[in-house]
Amino acid sequence: MANPEVPHRPWTQRYHVAAIGWSALLIALLVASSIMTGANFSIFLANIDQFFALLGQMSHPTWAYTKIIIQPLYETIQMALLGTTIGAALAVPFSLLAASNLVTNQILRNLIRFFLDLVRTLPDLLMAAIFVAIFGIGSTAGVVTLAIFSFGMVSKLFYEVIETIDMGPLEALKSVGASKVTLIWYAVLPQILNQFVSYFLYTLEINVRASTVLGYLGAGGIGVYLQRSLGEFNYGATAVIILATLVVVLIIDGLSNHLRRVLL
């Protein structure tokens, strides 16, 4: 049997020049940035015993502490839930306006995207510090910070989902004389709803973790207790807080998996 004629691959393709080149560039960048920032792997290795010492202390959680943190943990979840909900609700109109398959006006779309990029570059810790200064110590500052943070992140996730929808139903709805809002309600939302829910829960999960850190700055919730325990070298309590946060994150993750299955 004669072998079929196979076209010749160019040598760049045969020796994977592009892939090797990119990998080399990436490694070079990593090395260069570690040198420039002074991040030193040997320091990390030299001090690793301290890390294990800490871990040792944390391996005896002060279980009695659980009772004390239930209330602040509850507050943290409420903060995260409120912040995520406000942020995601605001993100819906913005993501619709930022989606290239819905908004043909390029100027408007780019303006919205620029605004969203700006929001995303605001560091959440900086925001928390500012809002604590404005609203005072407490959960209001935390909620506002989380809302803005979620808004920036969720908007981008949402408009990227919107850009992948099937445009056929939109054309059909347009052809029956639907108004813009009706079009979105009937042809866009059903296609993206379950992805929206899943991103909402993903953001909620991130926010629960983020709000533990925000508490550090006085923005309410469990973070206040985390800071206190670390300040008092009470690592047993720290362990309880970390474990409790883990449990909450796991629950949200399970819930999100479940909802995704149900909604799909």
């Binding site: 099937d166 054309e171 052809s175 009706t182 042809a187 296609q191």
Partner: protein
């Protein structure tokens, strides 16, 4: 009703219609013809000939570059906003890929044919009248899909989805149905079902039907008249009685 009116009463007229896409592609070139009320018109032509473009200029999903299209003796190119939506209310459209909202129920898909008749806030809240809910059942009955009313659209076969799309169109109470290769992704038997349904609506309700088809065989079986496009030009226009294999060939060469 309309089916009994004289053939000289044209429902759609093309007058020197040109369409050039933004990238310079010529979609339509000096198209002139009239469609009598109640006609079953089939448009044939090679891929890229401009069939979809022609169909979409009728409900203004595509804008024309020059010339004029009249529906019921009124030029439609100036329609904006509400007037345009009202025009579209009475023109049904069927697509090759059915274009149903797959995650929504059959009922909701069929109801969506009505949204042009309701104010936006009622559509959003789903406040359709009891009478219209009744009409959904009737529309589904005409395409023999009443048992599927609460099924999700993506649970149906292709042929069933296309019939749901026809039911959606029926809710519009259309004077015109535009069908862009409605059977291109269906097997021969289901194709026949769908084409028969369109023919029935044409004969029983007097709806003017314009269908783009790839298959000349199906075209000859259902059409009252066949027009042919080649590179955006109208190169063939014959009543079915005059259509022969030989003169159809001129569309394709």
């Amino acid at each position: 009703m309309a089916a009994t009116q004289p053939a000289t009463d044209s429902i759609i007229s093309f007058r020197h219609v040109n369409k050039v896409y933004a990238n310079g592609t010529v979609g339509l070139k000096d198209i002139n013809f009239d469609i009598p009320r109640g006609q079953f018109l089939v448009v044939v032509g090679l891929s890229g000939a401009g069939k979809s473009t022609l169909l979409r200029t009728i409900n203004r999903l595509h804008e024309i570059s020059s010339g004029e299209i009249q529906i019921d003796n009124e030029a439609i190119s100036a329609y904006k906003g509400k007037a345009l939506r009202q025009l579209r209310c009475h023109i049904g459209m069927i697509f090759q890929n059915f274009n149903l909202v797959k995650r929504s129920s059959v009922e909701k898909n069929v109801l969506s044919g009505l949204v042009g008749y309701y104010p936006t806030w009622k559509c959003v809240l789903g406040l359709f009248s009891a009478h219209d809910h009744q009409r959904v059942v009737q529309a589904l009955d005409r395409v023999s899909l009443t048992p599927k009313i609460f099924a999700r659209a993506d649970e149906l076969s292709g042929g069933q989805q296309q019939r749901v799309a026809i039911a959606r169109t029926l809710m519009q109470d259309p004077h015109i149905i535009l069908a862009d290769e409605p059977v291109a992704s269906l097997d021969p038997r289901t194709s026949k079902d769908v084409m028969d349904t369109l023919k029935r609506l044409n004969r029983e309700d007097g709806i003017t039907v314009i269908v783009n088809l790839h298959s000349v065989a199906i075209a000859r079986q259902y059409a009252d008249r066949i027009i042919g496009l080649r590179a955006g030009e109208l190169v063939y226009d014959e009543p079915i009685a005059n259509v022969t294999e030989a003169n159809l060939d001129q569309i394709y060469n």
